[in-house]
């Protein structure tokens, strides 16, 4: 094992003479438009691995990394304001042109991606960094658009308007409404107290009760107000 590896090392030292110049271009796009982008970026550069091999980016977006020996590299654009893709570059001894593949940071290098990209390398800015968060400004309209606020306003309005509504209602409709209300309250109470079973039965019953409602409902109606009103009377005595 030792022999082949040392041979490889020897071979690689010979190969360093066969190093190639890695060429590519950054295409200006809407995210990073031409001269403006070059100006804000100041000094973006393209580098391989940890930056020993690198190149500046000229006015027209071109770059050339000179004398790249054979090997597998990660090519990245070191830019202050923009996000660029990372690429995997394989400089192979037998071929004149390097292999270019997409690379997702944090993923293992082997097996290499199946997709081969064209050479010379073409890159463009994916996004511009946005460093700031907008300040939350106060807006009365937005405040009232808040669902909680809407509910509050609605409840407030109902509290004020309810007595008048009740007053204007037809007495029969009022009876019906009161009955319906008590039923809903019953179901709600059952669910709130955790007694789901009785809650369900209340829902079930509501259907059954419908036909004989004429008989039982008035009794219930009579019962509840009296009991409610009796208590203060008792107290007064």
């Amino acid at each position: 094992m030792r022999l082949p590896s040392s041979l490889l090392l020897l071979a690689s030292s010979f190969c360093s003479a066969l190093a190639l110049d890695l060429k590519g271009q950054i295409l200006w796009n809407d995210v990073c438009p031409g001269k403006l982008c070059h100006h804000t970026e100041g000094q973006a550069r393209v580098q391989l691995d940890d930056g020993r091999l690198h190149s500046g980016i000229t006015r027209d977006g071109r770059f050339t990394i000179p004398n790249v020996p054979k090997g597998i590299y990660i090519l990245e654009v070191v830019a202050h304001d923009h996000v660029f893709d990372k690429l995997r570059i394989d400089v192979v001894e037998t071929e004149l042109l390097p292999e270019v593949r997409p690379y997702i940071p944090g993923t293992p290098l082997s097996p290499p991606a199946q997709v081969l990209l064209s050479y010379p390398i073409v890159l463009y800015a994916r996004a511009a960094y946005d460093f700031y968060i907008p300040r939350q400004s106060f807006n009365v309209l937005a405040m009232f658009q808040n669902p909680m606020m809407l509910m509050m306003v609605f409840t407030g309005v109902m509290v004020l308007a309810m007595p008048y509504l009740m007053k204007n209602m037809d007495p029969e409709a009022l009876q019906d409404f009161g009955k319906h209300q008590s039923k809903i309250a019953e179901v709600q109470n059952a669910f709130q107290s955790g007694d789901i079973k009785s809650g369900f039965s209340a829902i079930m019953n509501s259907g059954e009760e419908e036909p004989r409602s004429s008989g039982s409902a008035p009794a219930a109606r009579q019962g509840t107000p009296t009991s409610r009103n009796r208590a203060p009377k008792n107290k007064r005595r």
């Binding site: 001269k35 070059h38 100006h39 100041g42 000094q43 691995d49 940890d50 930056g51 020993r52 690198h54 190149s55 500046g56 980016i57 000229t58 006015r59 770059f63 050339t64 000179p66 004398n67 597998i72 590299y73 990660i74 070191v78 830019a79 202050h80 304001d81 996000v83 997702i104 940071p105 944090g106 993923t107 293992p108 290098l109 082997s110 960094y129 946005d130 460093f131 700031y132 968060i133 907008p134 300040r135 939350q136 106060f138 009365v140 405040m143 407030g156 509290v159 004020l160 007595p163 009103n229 203060p232």
Partner: protein
């Protein structure tokens, strides 16, 4: 997808950190530096003027290459940076040449890389490697063997490596042709390239016995064909510095050199058959290039030191056109600096700048050779250069205008020995840049004292007459209406002191520095290698004070002061609470001491080339006043010689009683500064408990040796340290750095309660330290190491081997706080199936015992206890998307806030990485309910690249060297100061959010509206309810 999850996670973890656009510039500041200008001929500052063809206006910039490896352009109107191009550290800039709208540069050994930039915007137009940096030849000086000559067709002729010539297209960077000499610069070394329409000439020297001879080769500009080559009979002893090429108006070029004190010249023609001519008359000591060779002007220094302007006349003869009066060497003046410049019309001017020892001012004599009917006109003026605050002038660049006949106005750009760059317009100082700050070696942030409330006399209230009391009280009350108005306004609008506003005071120099409500304002004391220490206001970046170090006895011979460490010897809260003080421990390297009376003078040169002493400068942090009381405020700052020799280590000892610096010399003798008897008493009381590690090396191994200090004095009257333990590192491993915890880092909690109600107790042994190692240059297998050692015994608690870069360098950065170590490295290895080339960040936590709930009280253990090795280690590695240049943690007053890691990245940002991302206990599966209770998040190898965490936002902080953090009075907020060769940057960070002040986003209006709404509702419903109640009683 992964990035999206990452971003989502980032948003989830803490949405509080990012800054608002309105806060940029208010809570932070950024100062762009260019570095100390390199004052050599091809790199020093120079004016360059371009003309706008459309409008006919001219625009000028000051170009310079600097020691920070930057090519920069300054606006001469205000001194701001027009642009700067930062070169890679392996690619030093060695020459630049401006022509038209472009500036060309050569960098790297022998001029390996060639670039063309736009002279006004700094945009890169061409970058081309001419040869590999490894194959480049290193000449001394570096500017030898290179040359740039722009042609008329915007191509550039480039001489590199002393023997290669290329013609490169100025727009595309393509090489049109190239030529290399056969002998590979072994015999001929070319130093100049001259471009003429008919031929390109390389002028150089050929080695011969005892001296050099001039060698010239001519080429065809279009094909690069060698036309002719000639050795000119000559003998130059000085080397290439006395070889010039001058051109006159007729575009005739002449090679000029100094031989035996006389100027020789030779006309350049493609056939090289001309004969050298010799000027008669005076003999010269040396010739000076004043950057006017293209205008045929040069300055010759006569034997007596006086300067003469020598001009290549149109007929090709050399003529002395001017001699500067009183320029001979004299005790009354310093040595003159000659410099050349041009005006808008391209007419040349030559200035002589010198310091007058009698008048104590600087003077400039500007010669306009073309004025006064070609006889020459000299305009002289003196300007009040402050030598006590800026050292001496090392370089001058000249720009001149000729507004009226016989009237010359000039602008001078001065570079001084303390790193200042100044522009003087005649005798008016226009602006000043302190470029010495690009090389800060020691820095501290010092807390400011509270503002002094001016209380009018309270002393004799007892026996005060009624009238005087009334008067006093009235005068005290006169500010009341103002106060009441302020109070009302504050109450109504809610404009309280806020953490996101600037705390910089309005420019008012008379008020002494004092802290703001939250202690967000401090003073940054920064000691540079260029002989100056600065006090910088941390809220605005303004320089509050600066002092120049005195050289002590070495002032006679010259020397350098290199700061080693800085300690705050008196802080605001201390018992003897006057103003805070800072001690700077520095090394003074005196220049070659050659005292013929001294017995040392018999020794060979090498023994006393630089005599090193350790000096301590002690200053008041608020004013820069000498705390030793030796030097005057306006004078240079004198230090105290503490050790006659170098200092191996210095520490600050502090307890409730005293604060002093302990210094150890080469013989491990202890020196105390300040050397008071009180400090000595405290020292003798605690001497038994002091221990510290020192690096030592033998032939093959490097060791770290723990030392204690002997209780008994030696015969020298000093306590001497002795070794107690030694940790030997593997052979071929070198200690690169020792990292200890930050000196003031209070620990708020000693353990971490887990989801299952057990506790992990933090390992807080105070003597723990981190050692970073790297391979020695001769080692075969290169690797780097990280060790955590118990500094009391030398036991290794944690060890990790990291890969080195292909060139064998170790670029490991580490930060250690409480029980938490974070280190970074580049993993460039291929092999293991899941290996990826990436920057790694490893988070390591040390806890007591083998499992949760094991407790050994490590913070209080005696250093000899065996229990100190009972440690469990949790570690996890993460992929960081960027290269890491510097790393530190935030620090707060009580240590309650979460500690974030601040990282300076290779794309010129400073990023704050939350602790929660770096928790080594992040589970590698879905989080359980218990883990969710601890706020753990699932492990993801990749740390997200989130722009909202870039605390430096739009500022570019390139090649940051160090980040310093310091607590403010607010527990939530940490002050940050980052510095490097190109930038100074300061900001604040609140890793846990500003929990101790009302948030900026707090909506006071909404609160008021809600309350008033509720109030209105109550007002409306109350009568309704009472009416209803009454009704109920009536009708029921």
């Amino acid at each position: 997808m992964r990035t999206i999850i990452g971003l989502w996670l980032a948003a989830f973890v803490s949405p509080l950190l990012a800054i608002h656009a309105s806060e940029a510039g208010a809570i932070d500041w950024h100062k762009a530096l260019i570095g100390l200008p390199l004052t050599a001929l091809h790199t020093g500052p120079s004016f360059h003027r371009t003309e706008d063809w459309q409008f006919g206006a001219t625009q000028s910039v000051v170009l310079t290459a600097t020691a920070s490896n930057v090519l920069a352009a300054l606006h001469p109107e205000n001194g701001t940076v027009a642009w700067r191009h930062v070169f890679d550290e392996r690619d030093r800039v060695i020459a630049y040449k401006a022509y038209g709208n472009y500036v060309a540069s050569l960098s790297g050994p022998g001029g390996a890389t060639f670039r063309i930039l736009d002279v006004h915007s700094g945009v890169l137009i061409v970058e081309r490697q001419l040869h590999t940096p490894e194959s480049g030849r290193l000449f001394e000086p570096t500017s030898l063997g290179i040359g740039l000559a722009p042609s008329a067709e915007s191509d550039v002729f480039i001489l590199t490596d002393g023997h290669q010539l290329r013609r490169v297209d100025g727009q595309s960077g393509d090489v049109q042709w190239e030529w290399a000499s056969q002998d590979q610069a072994s015999l001929y070394v070319y130093s100049n390239v001259v471009s003429t329409p008919s031929a390109i000439y390389l002028v150089g020297l050929a080695k011969s016995f005892a001296s050099y001879t001039v060698h010239i080769t001519a080429f065809s500009p279009t094909t690069g064909e060698e036309l002719s080559s000639a050795d000119i009979p000559s003998s130059i002893t000085e080397g290439p510095s006395q070889l010039f090429v001058l051109s006159n108006k007729n575009k005739d070029s002449h090679v000029v050199w100094l031989q035996d004190g006389r100027i020789h010249s030779l006309r350049l023609a493609p056939d090289l058959k001309g004969k050298a001519s010799v000027t008669k008359g005076a003999t010269y000591k040396k010739l000076l290039d004043v950057k006017l060779c293209e205008d045929g002007q040069i300055v010759g220094i006569k034997e007596d030191g006086s300067g003469r302007v020598v001009k290549l006349a149109d007929d090709g003869s050399l003529k002395v056109t001017w001699e500067f009066k009183n320029s001979a060497t004299s005790k009354q003046y310093s040595e003159s600096i000659y410099t050349g410049g041009k005006d808008m019309d391209g007419a040349p001017y030559i200035a002589r700048v010198f310091w007058s020892n009698i008048l104590r001012t600087a003077s400039a004599h500007v010669l306009a050779p073309h004025l006064a009917d070609g006889k020459g006109l000299v305009t002289g003026f003196t300007f009040p250069f402050a030598t006590h605050t800026h050292g001496i002038i090392t370089h001058v660049a000249l720009d001149a205008v000729n507004p009226a006949e016989l009237r010359v106005l000039s602008r001078l750009v001065l570079t001084t020995s303390t790193g200042a760059v100044q522009l003087w317009q005649q005798d008016q100082l226009q602006w000043i840049r302190e470029e010495g700050l690009s090389d800060i070696r020691a820095v501290e942030m010092v807390e400011l004292p509270e503002p002094k409330v001016v209380a009018s006399q309270i002393a004799n209230e007892e026996n005060e007459a009624f009238s005087s009391r009334l008067f006093r009280q009235l005068s005290d009350a006169q500010n009341f209406p103002q106060y009441a108005a302020k109070f009302a306004r504050r109450f109504a609008t809610g404009s309280y002191a806020s953490v996101s506003s600037s705390v910089a005071s309005q420019a008012n120099a008379s008020v002494p520095l004092s802290r703001d409500a939250f202690g967000l304002r401090k003073i940054i004391v920064a000691a540079t290698t260029h002989g100056k220490v600065f006090g910088i206001d941390s809220s605005s970046g303004e320089i509050v004070w600066s002092r120049v170090y005195g050289l002590g006895w070495a002032a006679e011979v010259g020397g350098r002061i290199i700061p080693l460490k800085m300690f705050v010897t008196r802080a605001v809260g201390d018992a003897d609470g006057a103003t805070p003080q800072v001690a700077i421990v520095a090394e003074r390297k005196a220049d070659n001491v050659r005292d013929p009376m001294s017995p040392m003078s018999l020794l060979p040169d090498t023994h006393f080339q630089s005599l090193t002493d350790t000096v301590v400068f002690h200053v008041d942090a608020l004013t820069g006043a000498d705390a030793l009381g030796v030097s005057q405020d306006k004078d240079i700052l004198q230090g105290k010689d503490v050790i006659a020799g170098s200092c191996v280590e210095a520490f600050l000892y502090q307890d409730d009683d005293a604060k002093f610096v302990l210094l150890f010399d080469e013989f491990l003798q202890t020196h105390i500064f300040p050397d008071t008897s009180h400090n000595y008493d405290v020292f003798t009381n605690v001497v038994r408990s002091l221990h510290f590690p020192l690096r030592s090396s033998s032939e093959t191994t490097r060791t770290l040796t723990g030392h204690r200090i002997n209780v008994e004095k030696e015969f020298t009257g000093k306590h001497v340290a002795y070794p107690t333990w030694t940790t030997a590192f593997p052979p071929n491993e070198d200690i690169l750095s020792i990292i200890t915890r930050p000196s003031s880092s209070p620990v708020a909690s000693h353990g971490k309660v887990l989801g299952n109600r057990t506790t992990l107790y933090k390992y807080l042994n105070p003597s723990t330290l981190v050692v970073l190692t790297g391979s020695l240059p001769m080692a075969k297998a290169k690797s780097c190491g990280v060790y955590v050692l118990d500094g009391g015994k030398g036991t290794v608690l944690y060890h990790s081997i990291l890969p080195a870069s292909p060139s064998g360098e170790c670029n490991v950065k580490a930060v250690f706080t409480e029980n938490w170590l974070v280190y970074s490295y580049y993993d460039g290895e291929l092999g293991a199936p899941d290996q990826a080339k990436s920057h790694r960040l490893v988070s390591v936590e040390l806890y007591e015992g083998a499992q949760p709930d094991d407790k050994i009280s490590s913070s209080e253990l005696a250093s000899y206890s065996n229990l100190t090795t009972h440690v469990s280690v949790y570690e996890q590695s993460f992929v960081f998307p960027r290269g890491i240049l510097a790393m530190t943690t935030t620090s707060t007053k009580y240590g309650i806030s979460v500690k974030d890691i601040l990282i300076a990245t290779d794309n010129s940002q400073i990023v704050s990485v939350p602790r929660r991302f770096l928790d080594p206990r992040r589970p590698k599966r879905k989080v359980t309910a218990e883990e969710a209770e601890e706020w753990l998040i699932q492990y993801d190898p990749l740390l997200p690249d989130d722009p909202k965490r870039v605390i430096s936002h739009r500022y570019q902080i390139s090649y940051a060297r160090q980040i310093l953090t310091s607590p403010s009075l607010l527990e939530s907020t940490s002050l940050i100061f980052a510095y490097g060769p190109h930038d100074l940057f300061s900001t604040r960070s609140s890793p846990s959010g500003t929990f101790d002040v009302l948030s900026e986003d707090f909506n006071k209006l909404q609160l008021v509206l809600t309350i008033s709404g509720l109030l209105a509702a109550i007002l409306v419903t109350r009568p309704m309810v009472s009416r209803k109640k009454v009704k109920e009683r009536w009708y029921d």
